[in-house]
Symmetry: D3
Subunit: 130 residues, 6 copies
Amino acid sequence: MNGSRYELGLKNFKEIYGAIGTKVLENLNHISPDMSRYIIEFAFGEIYSRKGLDLKAREIVTISSLLTMGNAKPQLKSHIHGALNIGCSREEILEIMIQISLYSGFPAALNGLEVMKNVFDERDKKGTYP
Amino acid sequence: MNGSRYELGLKNFKEIYGAIGTKVLENLNHISPDMSRYIIEFAFGEIYSRKGLDLKAREIVTISSLLTMGNAKPQLKSHIHGALNIGCSREEILEIMIQISLYSGFPAALNGLEVMKNVFDERDKKGTYP
Amino acid sequence: MNGSRYELGLKNFKEIYGAIGTKVLENLNHISPDMSRYIIEFAFGEIYSRKGLDLKAREIVTISSLLTMGNAKPQLKSHIHGALNIGCSREEILEIMIQISLYSGFPAALNGLEVMKNVFDERDKKGTYP
Amino acid sequence: MNGSRYELGLKNFKEIYGAIGTKVLENLNHISPDMSRYIIEFAFGEIYSRKGLDLKAREIVTISSLLTMGNAKPQLKSHIHGALNIGCSREEILEIMIQISLYSGFPAALNGLEVMKNVFDERDKKGTYP
Amino acid sequence: MNGSRYELGLKNFKEIYGAIGTKVLENLNHISPDMSRYIIEFAFGEIYSRKGLDLKAREIVTISSLLTMGNAKPQLKSHIHGALNIGCSREEILEIMIQISLYSGFPAALNGLEVMKNVFDERDKKGTYP
Amino acid sequence: MNGSRYELGLKNFKEIYGAIGTKVLENLNHISPDMSRYIIEFAFGEIYSRKGLDLKAREIVTISSLLTMGNAKPQLKSHIHGALNIGCSREEILEIMIQISLYSGFPAALNGLEVMKNVFDERDKKGTYP
């Protein structure tokens, strides 16, 4: 049963993050295979596969939380990729940053815009849409 | 022109928060009328009236940010009311809390659930839907 | 298999937090049974039952993290009880607060001392040792 | 020599916080006399008595830091009293809150204004100036 | 009227940050012209041009807030430059860092000192005073 | 007496951090000799030499606090070295990161694992044990 939860999680994870996710997971496997398993099994097999809030809204929650923390740039980068992969538009990502300036202040928004710009540039180079 | 921005902001603000918002605004007017004006003019006349991200998504961003901060309970309460008023379901609010546990940890989620429960109870007493 | 993970988690949870934990869990069950299950299954069935760091050290990690956040007083209270229940001395709890002042500043330490004092007083009234 | 540092610290502390400080210190003495000593000796005997930044600016630093944390209300209250006692005007305190909204967001500012209002009311009742 | 608010904001912004500010603004204009406009219009045309707290104190508030967040190094760098440009001495900047160690802990202070050192070195190379 | 407190602090500091600590201290001496003195005298001469919590537990407190802040990577690196130097096993360090994921979220844990990996690699290259 845990096995199937892992498989479901891995399927979700790959659908959302694609190649960039696979690389993150491989790195993590070298450091702590258990942590890697918890993220697939619990985060993606359990939480991300819940009903009641669609995947796009879950990524909006995640990006907003990461922007407010302000110190999780690698995760912010991955989740901006993920949000775009599952149907967020670039404009929506930009608007999350502008909205967050009211609650977490301008520095959080500005540092988020910088990460966003890098993700957009990376996708432009590779011709990834959107 | 600022006048119309204020009026637009006040219209947005009242549509989202209703009676609870009016009370928050009156209290704030006694402490700092300028701060009250900035929130109406800038936050609600400017940012909340932007295109590119719908009001429901803006409230999801806001609630996620407030949950991550963890120390802004009065604002969290108002924005859960606001989110429900503009079309979020109770289930979606609950799922935001569950999703946030992955990124901001279980204490942030648990303290958010407590505030959510109080908002739901308050609305049940008054017969407010949803 | 998940069933046995839940049972292991519940056993761990009850051993650490006793009656105060049961009450927290009951409250949470009314708000979100799934969240309650994740905490028992994942946090206590999976993480707290890991080898490599004893339970006392795990509670020191937890209390230090909660002190640094500074906004999770109900959790801090439960975990101070938990730490005392599984073998931390009162003096050790106090020293965690003093040590944290260097890294999270004096306000975090002072607000932690206030919560600690309330826990000690509560235990004194009930004759709980230590 | 440490003795004189303690005495200098206590003199500074009493000049800044007056009666409210004495009460805070007495409470702390019951919980941890060592922590109380560190605050007087190190914070007020060493740091607050440094040259290079006047006391008023030191209180502005402190209030700004506490507003940004957002979870240290008892300390914020004491330091607003302290700032007013050593020469800050009420208008300056208000402006710190408004300025902080840009960097820590509106919730931090609004919750700070609430604490500020309570301090002003308390001083009005006692006829304390300013 | 908004036009003149923008002009006032731009004048304030350029007086405080000089060439380094112009570059920050140009970068931001490429990412989000609206965000750039909000910062000039609202932050610098509205908040920074308020009476009741002088510019030097506003920069002390800002630097203290950024030090406490600890994750906004580009902004911290700009605001240390700004503070020096409008009349803060280097010694005062150093003392803000030392004062903050009491409230946000030593790591926040040490990481701030590192940024401060880089700003001072940069100004020494260019012969900027102070 | 302060002299001996400084000497005790320096002895503690060198025992815990070894060569890496000496380098940190030299850098800091160039930026602010007073800050360097406070860290030796107060942090290591006073707090770290207290009874009631052993050095290993003090480093667990410190690492947990730094992980929760998430923005103090240089300090996290030094304290992982320090913890290993005074008797923590590599497995225990790893488990602190896994435990922290429950309270500060997965991003804090993942970014901590990255720093941990770098410290382990550095020690492997130099043949430092553990």
